[in-house]
């Protein structure tokens, strides 16, 4: 999976999430709005019904009043009069309530005004009728009732009330339809929104599952890669070990086989030298014979009396042989050094507990003669003990201390200091001197085999430090130098406090 694909997927996920959130918000807002609207619509429906009820209640009270008057007129029964009065008392509040209820509708308000005018007239007639009845003039009252019935007051009341009822009926229908519409809208909105949310959720789930699949796959691949890596590392390590062994064997065989011809070269060079001696001795005796006419007693060995060109010849001969012999000797030393190094490289290390101070004191005592000659003092500070290979440690320290004594500044008392400390499972040793120092540009070079630095006034093959570093590495440690020309040197060795074979037993 590419990074581009990952980014695109992440982008889509965020987009989907945002879309889902937006849809939810819209749905919520829409639902709230629509539910409110539906409630409003319902309220209006209820309102219409209330108005209708109120009209009917008003009409009912008017009828009651009328029937009460008629009953009273016919029977003079006190109960009819009470009934009528109750009804009349209820008419005004009922009318007021209707007025209040229909206040929102201008058409209805007009109707209510008409209605209340008619009702007022009718109420006046009622009062008149009652007065006539109470005054004992039922005829007049009856006439008034008839008149009222004949006049259009009652009819008008009925008509207006009817009109109002019809208007309310119309409104009822309208508002019911409105309310239904709002509710349908709210329901469909909720439905569609929920559907959308579900779709978005499913999309998200699909995306998440896909990326989870991709992640699992990547994890599996990572695991495989790790397993592979270990195998590869093992393989490479084995290869390296083999290569290292090969080099060791190669170095051993080469240096060994180089020695054989060297024995011949050296041997026959020596033979030649002897032969040369014989030849020149003979030449000298022949020269003397021819010069003096009589043979002399043969000259003693090594004592060749030659003159002029012959003498020159003999000297050239000896010089040539001398160069050959020193070169052979040098080559022999180098080959021996390589042999020793490879032999050292093949030696098995044995970790033992080592009293470092004791070990170094022993080395110092063997070097005491050189130290005295160089006027050097060696100071030992407290040193940590460790578990390591004794012989290797001896070689490391004796090489370094020997170097410190060897490369002091001529004519200046030497001071060599050996310090030690521990840090995180490692013992750190510092061997410092006040000697001639090493130019920083040579700091790498001095650890190379057969390479030396500085004034070449001391014998040496350029092997010591290479050997020391190889040993330190085999012991699982590191080594470094800090030094300036003419300002002394400090060699620092870091070794594991508890080295064991398994640490580096593979490095043979």
């Amino acid at each position: 999976m590419t990074a581009e694909g990952q980014r695109r997927r992440a982008f889509w996920q965020i987009l989907l999430f945002a879309a889902g959130l937006l849809v939810l918000t819209v749905i919520s807002a829409g639902s709230v709005y629509l539910v409110n609207k539906a409630r409003e619509d319902s309220k209006w429906v209820v309102h219409t019904i209330e108005v209708e009820n109120q009209i009917n209640a008003l009409l009912l009270e008017i009828r009651r009043a009328e029937s009460g008057v008629r009953g009273y007129l016919l029977t003079q029964g006190e109960n009819f009069r009470v009934d009528h009065e109750k009804a009349v008392a209820a008419i005004i509040p009922a009318l007021d309530k209707l007025t209040r209820l229909s206040g929102d509708n201008p058409g209805q308000r007009e109707n209510v005004e008409k209605l209340s005018a008619a009702i007022e007239i009718r109420l006046g007639q009622f009062a008149q009728e009652m007065v006539f009845i109470q005054q004992g003039q039922p005829d007049k009252a009856a006439a008034l009732v008839r008149e009222a019935a004949a006049q259009d007051t009652t009819t008008r009341i009925a008509t207006v009330a009817n009109a109002m009822a019809q208007e309310e009926e119309r409104l009822f229908r309208l508002r019911t339809a409105n309310s239904d519409h709002s509710q349908t809208l709210a329901a469909s909105m909720t439905g569609i929104g929920s559907g959308l949310v579900v779709v978005l959720a499913m999309l998200s789930i699909w995306l998440v599952r896909r990326s989870a699949g991709a992640r699992d796959e990547a994890e599996a691949r990572l695991r495989d890669a790790n397993v592979n890596l270990e195998a590869v590392v093992d393989e490479r390590t084995a290869d390296l070990r083999e290569a290292n062994d090969e080099i060791q064997r190669f170095a051993y065989i080469v240096s060994h086989d180089l020695r054989s011809p060297l024995v011949n070269i050296m041997g026959f060079t020596s033979e030649l030298e002897e032969l040369g001696g014989d030849i020149f001795r003979r030449m000298s005796s022949l020269a003397h014979v021819s010069a003096e006419g009589a043979p002399l007693a043969p000259a003693g060995p090594g004592e060749i009396a030659l003159e002029g060109a012959d003498k020159q010849l003999s000297e050239d001969f000896s010089e040539a042989l001398g160069f050959i012999k020193t070169s052979i000797a040098k080559m022999d030393r180098l080959i021996s050094a390589i042999l020793n190094l490879t032999r050292e490289g093949r030696r098995e290390f044995q970790p033992v507990k080592i009293d470092t101070r004791e070990l170094i004191e022993a080395i110092v005592s063997t070097l005491a003669h050189q130290a005295a000659e160089a006027q050097a003092e060696i100071h030992l500070e407290p040193l940590p003990d460790l578990v390591s290979d004794r012989l290797a440690l001896e070689q490391i320290f004796s090489n370094l201390i020997d170097n410190a004594i060897k490369y002091l500044k001529p004519g200046m008392p030497g001071e060599i200091r050996i310090r030690g400390r521990t840090k995180l499972g490692y013992a750190i040793f510092e061997i410092s001197d006040n000697g001639r120092g090493i130019d920083p540009k040579d700091h790498q070079r001095i650890f190379d085999l057969f390479r030396r630095a500085g004034t070449q006034d001391k014998p040496g093959q350029g092997i010591g430090l290479a050997h020391v570093r190889a040993l330190v590495r085999r012991l699982g440690g590191t080594m470094s130098v800090s030094s300036e020309l003419n300002a002394g040197s400090t060699f620092t060795i870091t070794l594991p406090i508890a080295w064991n074979v398994s640490n580096r037993n593979t490095d043979r």
Partner: protein
């Protein structure tokens, strides 16, 4: 001793062989020296065609052996010599460039009498051979098994 000792020199390097021979002669040893430049010829001479060693029965031998031979290792020859009833009494001087302590130990374990490392330094080389001459003069080559 009724029979002069024959020196068998098994050395593949002609130069070495010549140097060894010269120094032996210089030290005053005049015994016959038989040289072989490879292991096969030497084995043939020592053990005969039938590999029994019967051909050398009754001969007094001193064997100079180089370890690095082109066709086999001197160690093998040494081993076979020391396992053969007719030859095992013959002194074997291992004369080689190898100065590996393991190798030296191995040779002594197999029964070599003297181990000499050929030094590059000719003085030392000559000295070693001369000492060998001295060794020849004091050594009692035992009468071969009959």
């Amino acid at each position: 001793m009724t029979q002069p000792v024959t020196i068998i020199m098994i050395e593949d390097d002609e130069g070495h062989a010549r140097l060894i021979e010269r120094n032996i002669r210089r030290s005053g040893v005049n015994n016959e020296i038989v040289s072989f430049q490879n292991g096969t010829d030497a084995m043939m001479h020592l053990f005969g065609a039938d590999r029994s060693g019967l051909v050398q029965k009754g001969n007094a031998l001193l064997i100079l052996l180089d370890l690095n031979l082109p066709d086999m290792t001197g160690i093998d020859i040494l081993k076979q010599i020391k396992e053969n009833k007719y030859l095992k009494a013959s002194p074997v001087v291992v004369l080689t460039t190898t100065d590996d302590s393991q190798e030296i130990k191995r040779c002594y374990e197999l029964g070599c009498n003297v181990y000499i490392t050929k030094p590059v330094n000719y003085e030392n080389f000559a000295n070693a051979i001369r000492q060998l001459g001295l060794f020849f003069s004091v050594i009692q080559v035992p009468p071969a098994a009959t």
